[in-house]
């Protein structure tokens, strides 16, 4: 069974600094998707970034980028120029087939210090 592990329950970063959130996963599939979702106190899950496993290039969305290491099954999220609005729970998730749900890690709570 696929599993997703986030080893950092909590992280903090100074405003305008850079932080990296870790995620590892376990799968025997070769073609899959990886995601980072943000969940602010409103509970609304917001897609931050998506990576297709067949793509070697790391995905980037503005201040958010990933370091995808397929062989190591690692998928970290880097947030640059952190802003107060980035404070939230961040979940790493995995998906490989049209008939399966997302598999989530337990999340990392990010605090941003002004």
């Amino acid at each position: 069974a696929q599993t997703v592990t986030q080893s950092q329950p909590e992280m903090s970063v100074q405003e305008a600094e850079t932080v990296t959130l870790s995620c590892t996963y376990d799968t025997s599939e070769s073609d899959y998707y990886l995601f980072w979702y943000k969940q602010p106190p409103s509970r609304q899950m917001i897609l931050v970034i998506r990576q297709e496993a067949y793509k070697q290039q790391n995905a980037t969305e503005n201040r958010f980028s990933v370091n995808f290491q397929k062989a190591a099954k690692s998928f970290s999220l880097k947030i640059s120029d952190s802003q107060l609005g980035d404070a939230a729970m961040y979940f790493c998730a995995y998906y490989y087939s049209g008939n399966t749900p997302l598999v989530f890690g337990k999340g990392t709570r990010l605090s941003v210090i002004a």
Partner: protein, 112 residues
């Protein structure tokens, strides 16, 4: 356009009572998922509907949980004889593209 909506936003019930949670997916989305988020945990898959196919119920934790999707649109998650361990946030998501799920704001269920 409108996103995924869920109602109620919060529900407090007494142990042993039945509850119904509603999800209105984005119009035209063929897939609908229910997840449960317990305190300090990630999201746990409960059930998945895809078009007219039989739902994937493999994540339902017990036979007290059931869900239906009427007309391929609105879905209701029912929990019978609620227990305190059922207290959680219940999230619904819908999708059209297989890799892009849109989430609702969730229903926070508290069982006293």
């Amino acid at each position: 356009g409108a996103g995924v909506s869920q109602s109620p936003s919060n529900k407090v019930t007494e142990k042993g009572k039945d509850v119904e949670l509603r999800c209105d997916p984005i119009s035209g989305h063929t897939a609908l998922y229910w997840y449960r988020q317990s305190l300090g945990q990630g999201l746990e898959f409960l059930i998945y509907f895809q078009g007219n196919s039989a739902p994937d119920k493999s994540g339902l934790p017990s036979d007290r949980f059931s869900a239906e999707r009427t007309g391929g649109s609105v879905s209701t998650l029912t929990i019978q004889r609620t227990q305190q361990e059922d207290s959680a946030v219940y999230l619904c998501a819908s999708s059209l593209a297989i890799y892009r799920q849109y989430f609702g704001p969730g229903t926070r269920l508290t069982v006293l």
